[in-house]
Symmetry: C2
DNA sequence: CGATTCTTTGAAAACAGTCAATCTGTGTGG
DNA sequence: CCACACAGATTGACTGTTTTCAAAGAATCG
């Protein structure tokens, strides 16, 4: 029987059974209940984490205690604080579960070992990193170009799976708008088309954070 | 005599003279006048470009023809459209010179050849990519957390070199605010301190786009 | 010096944020 | 099984910031 993680790998790259088993043996699975932290501010993040099930959010606490959602991660994507991982410094972020979730953890060390051993795996990791960067830039582009309403429409177009799964206040926070504003926009809901911006026209791919 | 690019390399990684010469031989230098395009929307970006002198901007044209500045690049940083580079698709962005500039170009192919041959160079490239990603995320964090005024203060703290070098309308565009708003903020100029947000407290490093 | 680009300024209007109250649904424990 | 508590969503009135448009003032470049 193959796990979600193994399915993800098999769908992404070509692997022998031995390789698949070997990778799996270097990873651990962790079950998290709703609201449980995967990473807490101040801790050093030392893993690569694949979300095999559920939904998590990465957020940071700003001045006056407001929470700002930096990332949302559902099954088949990656979560973690990349900055903390590569600098080995304490994280400024929190990651917790919006739903009961299951994540596959791989230590940085093991992850790099796998990369070295299996070029295809390495290419996958690199491609995920690239996609993260592109996704970040698209998000910046959207925030520069769009009004609150257009941003939400763009978000909904990019991540239809999240719209009815993630609480609205978190989506609002992710978009940098007030939850009341989002609520009002939704009730109006004249289903406006998002004005298409060249830079964003091919970007309807789910965000990956590695 | 060493060029700016060679100085950059020597300050970043350890190289023999032969290696340095070899790398240099695989790159070309291009002089650009003010307002000249380095990349124009619709073209495929195929290089890695190191800015050895001057200042460039990456921008995109949104609906209604508004220009949105996605990146600013001064000497000793990198410019280019990474998305177009890795996907080999036409770029949605324009890059042009704010000042007369000099860039060192290296084709993707040659760049990868150097990476393969010289591990330290590869590590440098990887580290630049990582820093780009972190910088993007910090920019997102800032746009979520800060008011227009705080954003400008944060920008000025991060990039003091740019404040009096890049036209204000472009800085405004970079920050996603109207140029008039920026102008008003500057004249008020009660030099407010930026409220520090945990996530951004160590991020005062110049943006690198590789 | 003339032309273009960039910046400043003013006033009105649009937009989004805040605060506070109410409403809804879900899950828990008595 | 009901009542209650709690998290999330909605609504209204108000405030404040930011945008827009238009015009005038600097600065820069050829």
């Amino acid at each position: 029987m193959t796990t979600e993680f193994q399915n993800y790998l098999l769908h992404s790259i070509a692997l022998t059974n031995e390789q698949l088993d070997w990778i799996t043996s270097l990873c651990t699975t962790k079950i998290l209940r709703k609201n449980q932290y995967l990473l807490q501010e101040g801790d050093v993040w030392k893993h690569y984490a694949f979300v095999s099930n559920g939904c998590l959010r990465t957020y940071s606490t700003g001045c006056k205690g407001t929470e700002h959602v930096i990332g949302l991660h559902i099954e088949n994507s990656w979560a973690g604080d990349y900055e903390s991982l590569i600098t080995a410094k304490p994280s400024h972020y929190n990651i917790d579960c919006i739903e009961p979730s299951e994540v596959v953890l791989c230590t940085k060390q093991n992850f790099e070992r796998i990369c070295k051993e299996i070029p295809a795996f390495y290419e996958l990791a690199k491609s995920n990193l690239n996609r993260s960067l592109v996704a970040s830039q698209n998000r910046i582009m959207a925030s520069l170009s769009y009004t609150a309403e257009q941003q939400y429409a763009y978000f909904a177009a990019c991540y239809p799976q999240l719209v009815n799964r993630v609480p609205q206040n978190m989506i609002a926070s992710y978009l940098g708008i007030a939850k009341e504003t989002l609520s009002r926009m939704r009730t109006k809901s004249v289903v406006k088309a998002v004005p298409m911006i060249p830079a964003l026209q091919f970007s309807h791919t789910p965000q990956q954070v590695l």
